[in-house]
Every structure is written in C-alpha cells, then in structure tokens.
C-alpha cells in the first residue's frame, strides 16, 4: 500500500488511502487531525446546512461502493427532513463478506478516523441522532481500532452531545455481527442489528422511510462513506475529476486482484481503470506464467468475464454493458489450468450455505444446483443437467426471490455455462440405460466407461 502521508497537498489523488501506511498502523486522533482529519466535519457544522452536505454529495455523483452503485445523494434525498422528522439512523454496512472482496478491511483497520468522521458527516447530512457501524464479527482488529477512534473522537467533542459545540448531537457505536453473509443485504442487516434473524425485509417500504426500529435509516458502505469528508473539503468538481477522464463515474475506487496472480493486492486508483492494468501492472500478471481463463469483476455474485474484456474501464455502466457487474471492483482471476466447473461449484456451495432460508427458490434451488454441479465436477453428470442448470438461472433469477441473494448466485453460473459450456459437457456421462453404447458419443477426455463392468453393474442394480 501507499506510504504517502502528505495530506496537505490540496490536489491529492488518492483521498481514501493517502494517510495509510500499513507498516506504521493507523493514525491517532492528533496525528489524523494534523493531516486535515475532521476539518470537513468542522466546516460542515460551522458553515453548511445539512441539505448543503446532501447537495454536494449528490453533485459529486458518488455511487455506492458496496456493489450496487446506487447514487448516494439520491439515496439520501429520500430521507424525511425537517423539525418533525424525528428519530433517524445512519448505518455503515461494514459486513464485508462478499467472496473476493478485501477493501473495507483496509479502510477500517488503517484509517478508522476517516470512517468515524464520515459517519458523523453522513449523520449530520440526514440529521440522524445515532449511527451504527455494522461490522462483521471476524474483523477483530477493525473493531478494536474503530472503538478506539470513536472513544478519542468522543473525548474531543467530535461525537456525543452538541458536536463541536453546535446544536446537533450524535452517538456512534460499533455493532459486531456473528457470521452469515446475508447480513450484508441492507434490510437483513437492519433485522440483524435489531437482534433478529437476518432475513431480508419486503421493500417497500424502503429503509429511508422505515428502517431500523421503523425509523428512517440510511445504510451506506464503508468505502462510500469514506469519500464524504474529501468531497466536502475539495468539492464535487475535484471529486469528479479524480477519475482522470477514464469514465463518467466519479472518484477513485479501491480495486484489487486475488486468485492466481503474482502480487495480489488492493489499490486505490482512478475510477475506470482497466482490469488489464489491475492484473498486469499492479498484480504483476498471472502466477507461473499461466494464461488468464476468466475473471469475476467484483465478487462471487458477478458474472464471469473473459480475457477479451480486460480492456474495458472498470466502472458500473461499462461492466454492466459487458453482461456482468462491477460489484465491489475487486477482481478474482482464474488461471487456464483451473476448472471453471469446480470454481462455480465452490461459489454455489457458498451461496447455498449462506442462504437465510426464507424463500423457497433460494433455500431449495441452491442446494439442488450444488448437487448437479458436484456430479458434473466428478464426471457423473446426467444428460439434461446443463439444461437443468440453465433453468435454475431463470427460476432463481431476478424477480423470483425475496432478495438479491439467489439472483446473485446465478450470475457466475449463467456466465460460466455461456462461456465454458464444453467444460460442463465433459462432466456429463451418457446415460447407458437410455442410449445404446454404440451410438453414445463420449465427450473428449473421458474414459470409455461403457467397458467398465463395475460402473455398469452399479448402474443396473
């Protein structure tokens, strides 16, 4: 990671990570403030109305970094304002559990004060009285550092009653979870925070109207929020230009590479950087000189893309047009000698286990999908299995389930079948009960099992 600690440069290009030095650890409050920390909060409380903060974030065209890319300013604009609005909450989604994603951990472990200031600013913008950082239970280092940062900020009057001597009061707490990927779903997160099973809620009403304890609530991702102090300090135009003209999406992005790359990692780069630059320049190419076979653009719930897509700018709209989603923007690379069927089986096992079990297509469809994939992986798939998997991608697709869990699970599956159907076909054994051995054409690479007496006996019995 960057070891640059020169926040005083007004034209800094890497706002989120500029103060991060992983060897030295996070800055304490005093050092953080010396580098410009909390000046955005001071400015907001002194000079800006909550609506002005909202307007700047909207104008900056900040889009949600949790995976969906929804414009933050528009999300905020749906929250009731004014003296009669009553109790409101700001919640940070720090339940980073999307397989292949490791960016929020970096921000929370190495720049906890940045997130604390961001939560205060977002809380001020929507006039929330209380904020919660919903942190996954396994992030013990992040929990410790965030709690320390909150304690420091509270002692300095940056949180608590009458923040910085103004009229607005704000309490901030870290809430740690106890597992389950589904907690990252916005409404499941709210249920979990209330101390319930993390089943998603029906929408509408949206959380902005009726969220935590039925009150208006905004849920934003760690990286999304961490941008806010910088937008307020440097202005929406500066933020929009951070992309260096690579795309229409604004700001920087924490991109990353994992899988069989030489130097996997996470880097803050202009929005719209290509996956090729991520893989070949920053991650040092594929390990062992292997060729790239396929890549997930941003987590387990995004469609596979191919080497031919590497030159597309990594932004929300471009990757969507290529038939996938940018998701979290941390790519996972599969090497030429690795099995796509095996990778998809692994992904679907994950989704099957992490389904909350609330609705039938997801609860029953995902284990069924896993069963078929395991059979194909072991060379015991049956005729019609691929067609069945294709049906699954529709039965579990958008609109058929309560939340986006199962549709997300279908994205890597449908793209794997689209691009690598031959790998699935290799795992299909001709059904010798239905087809005469002499007309059965075996896929290349499989031993001729019609001569295998053991298997034939088993089949007959």
């Amino acid at each position: 990671m960057s070891t640059l600690r020169s926040a005083k440069d007004p034209n800094y290009q890497k706002p989120l990570t500029r103060l991060i030095d992983t060897a030295a650890g996070p800055l304490d409050l005093k050092s953080h403030e010396a580098e410009g920390g909390y000046s955005a909060l001071r400015k907001a409380i002194k000079e800006l109305k909550p609506q002005d903060v909202q307007a700047k974030v909207k104008e900056a065209n900040l889009r949600g970094r949790g995976g969906a890319g929804f414009p933050t300013g528009i999300k905020w604009s749906l929250i009731p304002m004014g003296p009669d609005a009553g109790t409101k909450y700001i919640v940070c989604n720090a339940d980073e559990m999307e397989p292949g994603t490791f960016k929020d951990r970096l921000l929370m472990e190495q720049a906890p004060h940045q997130l604390v200031e961001a939560m205060a600013l977002a809380g001020y913008a929507i006039q929330a009285q209380t904020g919660y950082i919903f942190l996954r239970g396994e992030y013990v280092v992040a929990a410790e550092r965030l709690n320390r940062a909150i304690a420091e900020a509270r002692a300095a009057g940056l949180l608590g009653k009458n923040v910085l001597g103004g009229e607005w009061s704000f309490e901030l707490y870290v809430h740690t979870g106890a597992g389950r990927y589904i907690c990252g779903e916005e409404t499941a997160l709210i249920n979990s925070l209330e101390g319930r099973r993390a089943n998603p809620r029906a929408k509408p009403p949206f959380p902005q109207i009726a969220g935590l304890w039925g009150r208006p609530t905004i849920v934003n991702n760690v990286e999304t929020l961490s941008n806010i102090p910088h937008i307020l300090l440097n202005g929406p135009t500066w933020f929009k230009e951070l992309n260096q003209g690579k795309t229409s999406d604004a700001g920087t992005k924490l991109y990353g590479v994992s899988g069989r790359a030489n130097k996997p990692g996470c880097w803050e780069l202009p929005m719209g950087t290509t996956a090729r630059e991520l893989l070949e320049v920053h991650a040092g190419g594929m390990r062992g000189g292997k060729k790239l076979k396929a890549w997930l653009p941003g987590g387990a719930s995004t469609d596979f893309l191919l080497p031919e897509h590497l030159d597309l700018p990594m932004d929300f709209d471009t990757i969507a047009r290529a038939g996938s989603r940018m998701g979290t923007g941390l790519i996972t690379v599969v090497a030429e000698d690795q099995s796509i069927v095996s990778a998809v089986r692994n992904l679907e096992e994950f989704f099957a286990r992490e389904s909350c079990g609330w609705c039938t297509p997801c609860r029953d469809g995902l284990p069924w999908t896993v069963k078929i994939l395991r059979a194909i992986e072991n060379g015991q798939g049956k005729t019609g299995d691929i067609e069945q998997l294709s049906k699954m991608t529709r039965w579990l697709g958008p609109g058929r389930t309560f939340c986006a869990h199962a549709p997300g699970a279908m994205e890597p599956l449908q793209s794997a079948i689209k691009y690598f159907r031959d790998e699935f076909e290799i795992g299909i054994v001709c059904d010798i009960d239905e087809v005469k051995p002499d007309v059965c054409t075996l896929p290349a690479g499989l031993p001729d099992i019609t001569d295998d007496r053991d298997l034939a006996t088993k089949k007959a019995s």
Partner: protein, 171 residues
C-alpha cells in the same frame, strides 16, 4: 451406587445457569447502545461465549431475561448465526476460509493438511479438546489466500508445510 444417586439429586437442585458478574456487566453495557434490549441479543450471546467458549442451552432463558425478550426469540437468533456455538468447542477454533479466492489458491490442500494433522473433519473437535475445525466464508484477506483464522488471529497465505508450526502456537 448410593453416592451416585446423591450426586444426581444434588445436580437437579442446582440452578442450571448463572451469569457471572463479568458477563452480566458486559450485557448491561451492550444494552446502553440500543433503544431496544432485543438488539443486544448477539452482544449478549457473544459475551457468554467469550467466557465459556460456547452457549449452552440452559443459558438461553437466562440471557433472554437479562435483555428482556423471550427465550424462544433468543433461541431463534442463537441458532441462526454461524459464529454462535451451541455445542462445546475446543480451546482453539480454527476457521478455514472456503470461498472462491482461497479455493483458487490452495484451500483444498490446506483443509486436507489440517484434517490429516488433527484427525478431524469440519464440525469436529480433537479428542484432547484442543482444536475445533470449521469452514468460514471469505475472511476478506483474499490477497493472502489460502487463509484461516485461529481464534482472533488471521493467518495467510498458509501452505500445507506451514500448518504444523502454526498449530504449535496454540496449545
């Protein structure tokens, strides 16, 4: 024989579960974070688990009472979340990331080596009560695959040859 009977009768009269002062204090502290006691469910379960390693059945009504919800509701929460343990675990809990990035960087080999050295499979505890082995979803350290957590410590990248030395640090 008669002594056995006496012990058993005495057991019946013992209060089944009592929160320690420390546990009660931690639960009460968590309650101050929320306008509704139910929200402290996970904090309260984790407080008990921190001190005892797991959450026994007879703890549920006691914890539920401490936060002011029904035992049935708390049971529903306690059985939903994968990191609330409802059976005794070993002194050290090993959580092996089985998600895609680690799958692509040596998860199968790491899991195999752990199972071989410990003589247990996922969900099991070694006979000496030292280790419990569990799978876990993406630990958010994909640049360090294959990864695992032992207790609160993250390890990665871990190759099979590293396993013995790492385990040796957890007695």
């Amino acid at each position: 024989m008669s002594t056995d009977k006496v012990v058993k009768l005495a057991d019946l009269n013992k209060p089944s579960f009592v929160l320690s002062d420390e546990e009660r204090h931690e639960i009460e502290h968590a309650l101050t974070h929320y306008p509704d006691g139910r929200a402290a469910s996970i904090d309260a379960l984790k407080a008990v688990q921190k001190h005892r390693g797991w959450v026994p059945d007879d703890a549920i009504p006691v914890i539920a009472e401490a936060i002011g919800i029904s035992a049935a509701d708390l049971e529903g929460v306690a059985t939903f979340y994968s990191l609330i343990f409802r059976r005794p675990v070993g002194r050290h809990v090993i959580k092996v990331c089985d998600s895609i990035s680690c799958h692509l960087t040596g998860y199968d080999e790491l899991r195999g080596e752990l199972e071989k050295q410990l003589g247990i499979r996922f969900g099991q505890t070694t006979r000496d009560g030292r280790y419990t082995l569990l799978p876990i979803c993406c630990l958010g350290a994909c640049d360090r695959g294959a990864t695992m957590m032992i207790d609160d410590d993250l390890h990665g990248p871990v190759e099979p040859k590293d396993v013995a030395a790492i385990l040796g640090n957890y007695q």
